[in-house]
């Protein structure tokens, strides 16, 4: 499926699958090295589309929700809500109206974005190519920008709530007076704590990205096998169902844990 009439080789096939549809402020569509102000249009559109799908579905159920006997869809939605709510209540012992909806959004949205991985790898890019879109990377969570965009937002919340609950002084103290509570250790403490703090968003974003990117790459490699892909594709897809849910769950749980740590005094 290589674009621009190149001969179809394995590397060009893979390369094509891993290229985003981009638009940059300076260079326009698909410019090379267009600098920071470049948008991965495919990732953003699919991510936003899935987010809207999630919110539309849940909102429509919420609007029609009854206290009486619920319908099947409402039951399902309520199961998800209850699952998230239980996890939040188990981990986060405070009063914060943001945490549970945040966890729900992360869980369902990340799950939906991961779910795009189960769409056969050539289906959407090929369809896009026939209507004139040269590149399409289907799974938003295989885009490092997407996962880091979410994890850095979580990081901002961590900082915000740490400062809000413990004050700027408390935040600084947390960074400098742990784990060795002595002024002489301040540089060492700061080094350790800064790494700990910065590792949170980085690991959060990279974990999701890494898992999904690797999974997608293996799907692409399997797709290269021609007819032999079928017996391989199926077990990998089944196995991937687990990864999809698990990664969405891990992202949600870690967000809750980090935010609950931000709320608690040591």
């Amino acid at each position: 499926m290589a674009g621009q009439g190149e001969a179809l080789t394995s590397s060009s096939y893979i390369q094509h699958h891993l290229t985003n549809l981009t638009w940059s402020v300076d260079g326009g569509w698909n410019a090379h090295d267009a600098g920071f102000w470049t948008f991965h249009v495919d990732s953003l559109l699919i991510a936003v589309g899935l987010g809207v799908l999630f919110l539309w579905l849940f909102r429509s159920v919420a609007k029609r929700s009854t206290v009486g006997v619920p319908g099947k869809l409402q039951c399902f939605i309520e199961m998800v809500i209850d699952f998230v709510d239980e996890n939040v209540k188990d981990t986060f012992h405070g009063k914060n109206a943001l945490i549970a909806p945040l966890a729900l959004t992360i869980f369902v949205w990340v799950f939906l974005m991961n779910l795009m991985d189960l769409v056969p790898v050539d289906l959407l890019p090929h369809a896009a190519q026939t209507i004139g879109i040269p590149y399409l990377k289907v799974v938003p969570t295989t885009d490092l920008n997407v996962t880091l965009g979410m994890s850095l937002s979580v990081f901002a919340l961590i900082i915000y709530y740490t400062v809000k609950v413990k004050g700027v002084g408390g935040f600084v103290k947390e960074l400098t007076m742990q784990p060795f509570n002595h002024w002489a250790f301040i540089p060492v403490n700061f080094l350790l704590e800064a790494v700990t703090l910065l590792a949170k968003p980085v690991s959060l974003g990279l974990r999701l990205f890494g898992n999904l990117y690797a999974g997608e790459l293996i799907f692409i490699l399997i797709a290269l096998l021609g007819y032999w892909q079928l017996p391989l594709y199926f077990p990998w897809a089944v196995f991937h169902i687990l990864i999809i849910v698990l990664q969405a769950f891990i992202f949600m749980m870690l967000t809750i844990v980090y935010l609950s740590m931000a709320h608690e005094d040591h």
């Binding site: 919110l55 919420a62 209850d82 549970a100 938003p140 850095l152």
Partner: protein
């Protein structure tokens, strides 16, 4: 893989989605769930209470039934007694009436007999006197022989 403005776009979308979810999705759904939980809990307590009430009512009903049965038996017993009493009374009354009637009849018969005898005696006396009168008409004075006739009448 290069970091670019996609990250910012994703962060903005994320913030908007979370805000929307917090505002319009989470509260109504959780409210519905909690309201239903409360409703079910209330229903269960009510059912439990109703069960207890039923048990109590059943016990009460059984007691009432027993009482009623005892009462009925008593009433039947009383009625039986009363019946024998009435029958006895009627019997006695009948007996008395019968003997009274018999006695009356007997007395009447007796009286009739006496009357008939008296009448007969009178008639015989008259007859005798008439006979005697006829016999003695010519010679004998009626007044002089009346004591003999009286004696005769008394002998009849």
């Amino acid at each position: 893989m290069n970091i670019n403005a996609t990250l910012i776009g994703q962060a903005i979308a994320f913030a908007i989605f979370v805000w929307f979810c917090m505002k319009y999705v989470w509260p109504p759904l959780l409210d519905a769930i909690e309201a239903r939980q409360k409703k079910i809990a209330d229903g269960l307590t009510q059912a439990e209470r109703a069960g207890k009430d039923l048990e109590l009512a059943q016990a009460k009903a059984a007691e009432k039934l027993k009482e009623a049965k005892a009462q009925a038996a008593e009433i039947i017993d009383q009625a039986n007694k009363r019946r024998t009493q009435i029958v006895e009374e009627a019997k006695n009354e009948g007996e008395a009436e019968r003997s009274k009637i018999i006695a009356q009849g007997e007395a009447e018969v007796e009286a009739e007999r006496n009357r008939a005898r008296e009448e007969l005696r009178q008639q015989v006396a008259t007859l005798a006197i008439a006979g005697a009168e006829k016999i003695i008409k010519r010679s004998i004075d009626k007044e002089a022989n009346s004591d003999i006739i009286d004696k005769l009448v008394a002998e009849l």
